[in-house]
C-alpha cells in the first residue's frame, strides 16, 4: 500500500489529539479500574485475588446487603424515569410540534431550563420547597385544602427515593422533549398530508403515524436514560449526603461507589472494592447498551425520507 500511495499524514494529524486524550483519560483508566478490581491488599502488598472482590460484593453480607440495596434503588430510580419522564417528555414534544402554535420557542426554552441548572441548585431548592419548616409545599397544599396529604417526603424512608427520582425527572425532562421534538419536526409534511387525506388526524394521527416514526428516537432516549440513571450520583449527594439517608433508603450505585472509594466517617476508603463496584456498574451499563443495540435497535424499522 504505502509504496503505491504516499502516506497521508494529515489523517493522522487530524485524528491524533482526540484519540490520544480520549485513550489516555477514558479508555486506559476504565481498564485500569477494571484491572484494579481484581486485586486486593494483604498487609502492605498488592495481591492478585481474581474475582474474589466481586464474590465479596455479591455474597458477603457486609457488602452484598448494601450492594443489592443500591442496585434495587437504582432500578426503581430508572423505572420512575421511564414511566414519568419519557411519556411526559413525549407528550410535551407532541403538543409543542403542533403546527402554527404560538410561543412554541418560549415554551421550549422555558421547559429546558431546569436541565441546565446544577444539581446543587436543584437539590437545595427542592429541599426548601418540600421542607416541613419553611415549606412552600405545605402552604400550597393548604391553599387547595389538601394539607393533610403533606408529609416530609425527603425525610421518610418510604417516600424519599421516589421523591428524588421525581425531582430528577423534573430536572431532565427537557432532554427527551428536545430529542422527540426534533424527531417530530423531521417527519416530512407529505406524510402527514397523506394521512390527512385518508382522514387520519389528531390523536389517531399521533398514534398511527407519528409514534412509529419516532420510535428510534424513543429508543435512544431510553438508553440514554438508562446510562444516566445507573451512573447518577450528584442529586442524591447534594440532597441527602454521601450516606444517602434516611437509613440508606436513597442509596444508589453512584453514592455507594463514592462512599466505598473515599470512605466516610469511620470507614476508610477502599480503592479495590471501589473498583469492584465500578466494575459491576460497567457490567450493568454494558448489558443495557447491548440489549439496546442488539435487541431493540436492530428491530426498529427506520424510515428514510
Amino acid at each position: 500500500m504505502a509504496s503505491r500511495k504516499p502516506v497521508r499524514w494529515h489523517i493522522a494529524v487530524f485524528l491524533a489529539p482526540a484519540v490520544l486524550v480520549y485513550t489516555a483519560l477514558m479508555i486506559v483508566p476504565l481498564f485500569g479500574t477494571l484491572n484494579l478490581s481484581l486485586f486486593n491488599e494483604a498487609g502492605d502488598v498488592r495481591v492478585f485475588v481474581g474475582l474474589a472482590n466481586f464474590a465479596t460484593l455479591f455474597g458477603d453480607p457486609r457488602w452484598s446487603e448494601q450492594f443489592w440495596n443500591a442496585l434495587g434503588n437504582n432500578a426503581w430510580f430508572f423505572l420512575i424515569h421511564m414511566l414519568v419522564q419519557n411519556p411526559v417528555g413525549i407528550a410535551l414534544a407532541a403538543i409543542l410540534s403542533t403546527p402554527r402554535l404560538r410561543m412554541a420557542a418560549f415554551y421550549r426554552t422555558a421547559i429546558f431550563i431546569p436541565t441546565i441548572l446544577s444539581f446543587v441548585i436543584v437539590g437545595f431548592v427542592w429541599k426548601l420547597i418540600l421542607s416541613p419548616i419553611w415549606g412552600i409545599a405545605p402552604g400550597m397544599l393548604d391553599f387547595i385544602g389538601l394539607e393533610s396529604l403533606f408529609a416530609p417526603w425527603l425525610g421518610r424512608e418510604e417516600y424519599a427515593l421516589t421523591t428524588l427520582a421525581l425531582i430528577s425527572v423534573w430536572q431532565f425532562i427537557g432532554i427527551p422533549m428536545m430529542l422527540i421534538y426534533a424527531a417530530l419536526l423531521s417527519i416530512p409534511d407529505e406524510v402527514l398530508e397523506a394521512a390527512e387525506m385518508d382522514g387520519i388526524t389528531g390523536w389517531s394521527q399521533f398514534w398511527k403515524i407519528k409514534l412509529p416514526l419516532i420510535l428510534p428516537a424513543i429508543g435512544i432516549i431510553s438508553i440514554l436514560t438508562f446510562v444516566g440513571n445507573f451512573n447518577a450520583f450528584d442529586l442524591i449527594y447534594v440532597a441527602q449526603g454521601a450516606l444517602a439517608g434516611p437509613d440508606f433508603s436513597t442509596d444508589i450505585l453512584g453514592t455507594f461507589l463514592y462512599r466505598t472509594f473515599f470512605g466516610f466517617q469511620l470507614q476508610l476508603g477502599d480503592p479495590y472494592m471501589g473498583s469492584a463496584i465500578a466494575g459491576a456498574m460497567f457490567g450493568i451499563i454494558l448489558l443495557g447498551v447491548c440489549v439496546y443495540l442488539f435487541g431493540i435497535q436492530t428491530r426498529l424499522r427506520r424510515y428514510q425520507f
Binding site: 480520549y22 476504565l30 451512573n231 451499563i285
Partner: protein
C-alpha cells in the same frame, strides 16, 4: 400545511404547556425572588415578590464580601472555556478525518470513539485519580480540563461527523484544485460551514462540565481550584443558616449558564434535527 386546529384544542395545548412551564420555572423563581428579600421576609412569606418593604441586598453583600466566590467563578470559567475549546477543536478535527477520508480502520476508529457516548467516564475514576496523583496534577485545573475534554469528545465527534458528511464535495475539491492544503480546507472551508453543529455540541458539552460535582470533588477539592458548583455546595454547608447568602450565591451561579444557553438555544433544535436523532 395541515388544517387549522380548532380553538378548543389550541387552548388545551396552551393550557398544558403553560402548566408545565410554571412547574419548570417555579423553583428558579423561588430562589431568585427570595434572594432579594430580607431574612424576616423570606421566612414570613416565601412566595411574596420583593417589594420596597422587604427588599434587601444583604445576601448579595455577604457573597461579595466572601471574596472566594469570584475565584470559584473564574475557575469554572477557565475549566469550561478551555475544555470546550479543546473538545470543539479536537472533535472537529477527528470528525473531519472520519467523514472525509477513506482509510483502513475508519469504521473501527469511529466505533472506538463512539464507545464513550455510552460508557460514562466516571467508571474510570479510581484509575484517573491514581494517574493524577502520580503525575502531580491533583488540585490543578489542568486535571479537570483534561478529564472534561476526554468526556466531551465522543459526542462531539459523533455529531460533527454526521454534519460534515453533508458538506458538499464539490466545494472541497474546488479548494484542492486551487492548491489548498488539507489543513486549509478544514479550517477555512469546512469549519465555518458546520458552525450550527458546533453550537449544538457546545451546549451539550458545556452544561455537564459547568454543573459537574463529581470530578471537582475528587480531583480538585482545594480552595484555590474549587469550581463554582463545588464552591456553592460547600457554601451551603458553611452558611446553612444564612439563607440570604445561599440564595444570592445560587442566583449568581445560575446566571452564566443561563446566558450561554439563551445565546445558543436557537441553534440547538437545528443542530439536533440534523444530527443525533437521524
Amino acid at each position: 400545511m395541515s388544517a387549522r386546529m380548532s380553538p378548543a384544542r389550541t387552548i388545551a395545548a396552551h393550557a398544558a404547556l403553560i402548566t408545565y412551564t410554571l412547574i419548570a420555572l417555579f423553583p428558579v423563581f423561588v430562589i431568585v425572588i427570595n434572594s432579594f428579600k430580607s431574612r424576616k421576609a423570606i421566612f414570613a412569606d416565601p412566595l411574596a415578590l420583593p417589594v420596597p418593604g422587604n427588599f434587601d441586598l444583604i445576601g448579595y453583600q455577604t457573597v461579595m464580601k466572601q471574596g472566594d466566590f469570584f475565584a470559584y467563578f473564574q475557575n469554572s470559567m477557565i475549566v469550561t472555556v478551555a475544555s470546550l475549546f479543546f473538545v470543539l477543536l479536537f472533535g472537529a478535527m477527528a470528525a473531519f478525518a472520519l467523514s472525509e477520508y477513506r482509510f483502513r480502520g475508519n469504521t473501527l476508529m469511529g466505533l472506538y470513539l463512539a464507545l464513550g457516548i455510552m460508557i460514562p467516564i466516571r467508571l474510570g475514576t479510581v484509575a484517573i485519580l491514581q494517574m493524577m496523583v502520580a503525575s502531580g496534577l491533583v488540585n490543578t485545573l489542568t486535571a479537570l480540563i483534561l478529564v472534561y475534554t476526554a468526556q466531551g469528545l465522543p459526542l462531539a465527534v459523533f455529531i460533527l461527523s454526521e454534519f460534515m458528511r453533508n458538506v458538499s464535495d464539490d466545494l472541497k475539491n474546488a479548494g484542492r484544485i486551487d492548491g489548498l492544503s488539507e489543513y486549509a480546507i478544514f479550517f477555512t472551508l469546512v469549519l465555518p460551514l458546520v458552525r450550527p453543529a458546533m453550537a449544538t455540541v457546545a451546549v451539550f458539552t458545556m452544561i455537564p462540565i459547568w454543573n459537574d460535582l463529581w470530578f471537582p470533588l475528587i480531583l480538585a477539592p482545594a480552595e484555590e481550584v474549587k469550581t463554582i458548583t463545588l464552591g456553592s455546595q460547600v457554601f451551603i454547608g458553611q452558611f446553612v443558616t444564612n439563607w440570604n447568602a445561599v440564595l444570592a450565591a445560587l442566583s449568581l451561579a445560575i446566571v452564566p449558564v443561563l446566558v450561554m444557553y439563551l445565546i445558543f438555544s436557537r441553534q440547538l433544535i437545528r443542530g439536533i434535527t440534523a444530527g443525533a436523532v437521524k
